[in-house]
Symmetry: C2
Subunit: 273 residues, 2 copies
């Protein structure tokens, strides 16, 4: 099944636009995991089990694994998602950007090694740096468009022929790069007006939307600005707010993560129709 079809099925099946981001910061892990050799794997599996029926996708951030020589644990996490929750799309957040021959290697990394359904990529080097991912016809390439960090404006807000660069990127992807319907875009939740502009440009193309939860984006405004006419169209990511949710009473960290994921999913659903 293609990434896009799988995503559509997960939106419907779990009645959810919530993407659970897996950014395992060991300095914030619960005390019971301290010093365990496979702490990252154990933590992520617990979070996955606690949230899988609430999520439309899982998104591991590879940097957290790469810094700690933990690619083997990332492989196991990805395999766990693919075998235990095969209907939930797996997005590898790697933001790769390199020329053709090198991009082919990165595509093999994402799609063979980690078995991801889609990978995030950077548009700065142009279409031939994105095309190698789309040689994998059932996979997705999620192109950075407008990012939620303060410095995002440095380049993305530059005026290019009367519109900001991020809108030009959205238009490029919609008109030219999205040949087989394999593309999606990353647009941060922190600027709902800009999210609405992008939605207007791209039609029903899916959006990966970071920036709610710990990053403070407003859920109502985000959903209103970014949804498609049928109330889908987004993977709204939350990572830290779920992973490091503060426990209430005798909750363990899995319970706390599930509670926040449920609240977030339901808050999103309120504004879908």
């Amino acid at each position: 099944m293609t990434f896009i079809k799988k995503l559509n099925a997960a939106w419907a099946g779990n009645h959810s636009l919530l993407c659970v981001g897996l950014d395992p910061d060991v300095t914030r892990f619960p005390a019971e995991l301290a010093g365990k050799p496979d702490a990252i794997l154990s933590f992520c599996k617990t979070i996955i089990d606690a949230t899988a029926d609430l999520a439309c996708s899982f998104k591991p951030q590879i940097a957290y694994f790469a810094a700690l020589r933990a690619e083997d644990q990332l492989e196991e996490i990805c395999r766990y998602i693919k075998t235990t929750y095969p209907t939930i799309p797996l997005v590898l957040d790697a933001k790769r950007g390199d020329i053709g021959a090198t991009a082919e290697q990165y595509a093999r990394e994402a799609f063979e090694r980690y078995e991801a359904d889609a990978v995030t990529v950077n548009p700065y080097m142009g279409f031939d740096s994105v095309a190698p991912y789309m040689e994998w016809k059932d996979k997705g390439a999620i192109v950075l468009c407008r990012t939620s960090n303060a410095g995002g404006s440095d380049l993305q807000f530059l005026d290019v022929g009367g519109k900001p660069l991020y809108q030009h990127v959205a238009q490029l992807v919609a008109d030219k790069w999205n040949v087989n319907g394999q593309c999606a875009l990353v647009v941060g939740a922190t600027f709902p007006n800009e999210l609405a502009q992008v939605r207007h440009i791209i039609g029903d193309m899916p959006l990966l939307v970071p920036g709610i939860g710990a990053q403070g984006g407003d859920i109502a405004a985000t959903v209103h600005a970014g949804k498609t006419n049928n109330g889908n169209g987004m993977m709204i990511n939350s990572s830290r707010a779920i992973l490091y949710a503060k426990a209430i009473g005798d909750e363990n960290y899995a319970d706390a993560a599930r509670r926040i994921a449920l609240e977030t999913r339901d808050a999103i659903n309120q504004y879908r129709n």
Copy 2:
């Protein structure tokens, strides 16, 4: 010693502007390495030993290792360079681009795990995606500016206030991002006029210049356009032309790689003064 000082010393010490790129494509390895478990490590060490006195830097491309689950071999290669040839700067070609907290993880990967002296980074997400690398005061951040692939023009050549985006990036880095003199830029050799424009904008900032050798850039035009007044200022990268040099007579692959590296270094040196 800082990356920039180390690079200056290597330019002088080896009388070389040649950066040897380590893009280990196992499908092109010599027959004698076929099926060996540490073939990548063995191949790269041989190339390093054959070219270390001719190079101003080594540049492993992480994608080739990541695709093959060979990060452990990359670690060993990096450690080998750092211990055996401690005067040659080690540039990790990873083209990372992500927000602050994630960029911190990538910086740890590059500078702690692989002990690189500098890493290539993508400017699309703005200054706060580059700043975390510069917290490592003796390390370098080499920012993508103008790339040598055909699709490079898709974004980089867009008009931004009367000049192309890549020149705007060069200006941004020169004026604002290069706070402690830790920055360099990637500018491809395939467009010498553009290389000259960038050199004009950035003063003596170092350039990493891919695109000669297998990619066909002209050495004379490249050196003329990109050198500083004192005949330095560039790491001119060649990867495949050296790594997969065709043997002449009874040369082994190390001899062939050395011959091409020597020819390339000397061809570059012809045009430096």
